[in-house]
């Protein structure tokens, strides 16, 4: 395999809030019956995480499972392990109706880190990001500016954003513009 590169190759724009692309991240789109015990078990085996509830993400150090829709989760793991994980899923779900596709290269993962990260995000999405409505463990799909994005909180001052690879530049620049404009003081 040739050395793969991520969309922004780890580009980072520092400021009061830092916008930083996280580099290569393994991602698998898994569609199927989410109540199926074998599906849940193989997700746990790959990520070590308890299967997430609706609109939640179960997150470990470098692995996780995010609830995408009633019949889809996003499995996150180290980039180099994706081929092996797909084989595990295929083995576990053989004979069942499911879909598992490697989407690691189709996406970019961008971190928003700093004091008012929550406001930087809230300015760009219609999602309710009030601390009472959105905290660590929550997962949301919506849009940032004019493109689709999914995001969650790593901790109180850090958001993680997943967007499509082709618009990684746009999302990075949009977050930088939002950060530059400063806090609003709503939350």
């Amino acid at each position: 395999m040739s050395d793969a590169i991520s969309a922004l190759q780890g580009r980072s724009t520092a400021g009061e809030v830092t916008i930083r692309e996280a580099g290569l991240c393994g991602m698998i789109t898994l569609r199927g019956d989410l109540s199926n015990a074998k599906l849940r078990a193989v997700c746990k085996k790959i990520t070590g995480q308890v299967f997430p509830e609706k609109r939640k993400i179960a997150l470990g150090e470098d692995r996780g499972v995010a609830w995408m829709s009633p019949d889809e989760v996003l499995v996150m793991l180290p980039y180099a392990e994706v081929t092996d994980a797909l084989a595990q899923i295929d083995a576990a779900l053989a004979g069942q109706h499911y879909l598992a596709e490697n989407v690691s290269d189709a996406r970019a993962l961008i971190h928003v880190e700093g004091d008012f990260a929550r406001e930087i995000m809230a300015k760009l999405t219609p999602a309710d990001l009030h601390p009472d409505s959105f905290a660590a463990g929550d997962f949301r799909r919506s849009h940032l500016g004019q493109v689709a994005a999914a995001f969650w909180m790593v901790d109180a001052d850090r958001f993680a954003v997943v967007c499509f690879r082709s618009v990684a530049d746009y999302v990075h620049d949009l977050l930088v513009a939002s950060a530059k404009a400063g806090p609003v003081g709503v939350f």
């Binding site: 609706k54 609109r55 995408m68 829709s69 009633p70 219609p126 999602a127 919506s142 849009h143």
Partner: protein, 109 residues
């Protein structure tokens, strides 16, 4: 802005997270149907001032299509429900009747 509750992921979705899909509860007419049936299916649409049933997709969210009952004049939303049905559920119809007695829409009332 219009806010619709997505019955699949449970999000109160902003209008900008949604994609409008036109009238709900159309019956598909394929090969073998009469010209009139096909015309009804393809082109004839309700255009009410008042109670209306529509298709919406939570396109930036969970990606699921759902159906919404709302008032086109006031933007009041009576309820949303999953798309895998050929008619509005009774509880939605009851809610509409409570607020708009005597309403009719297509074959429904």
């Amino acid at each position: 802005m219009l806010t619709l509750h997505c019955p699949y992921c449970g999000t109160d979705a902003d209008e900008t997270d949604l994609h409008a899909g036109g009238q709900a509860h159309l019956k598909r007419h394929g090969p073998g149907s009469s010209d009139d049936q096909f015309e009804d299916y393809m082109f004839m649409r309700e255009n009410p001032k008042g109670v209306h049933f529509e298709r919406w997709r939570h396109v930036y969210g969970c990606g699921k299509w759902f159906l919404a009952a709302r008032c086109t004049a006031t933007l009041e939303v009576f309820g949303t429900y999953p798309a895998q049905t050929t008619e509005p559920p009774q509880d939605i119809c009851d809610k509409i009747t409570a607020k708009r007695p005597g309403w009719t829409w297509g074959d429904f009332a």
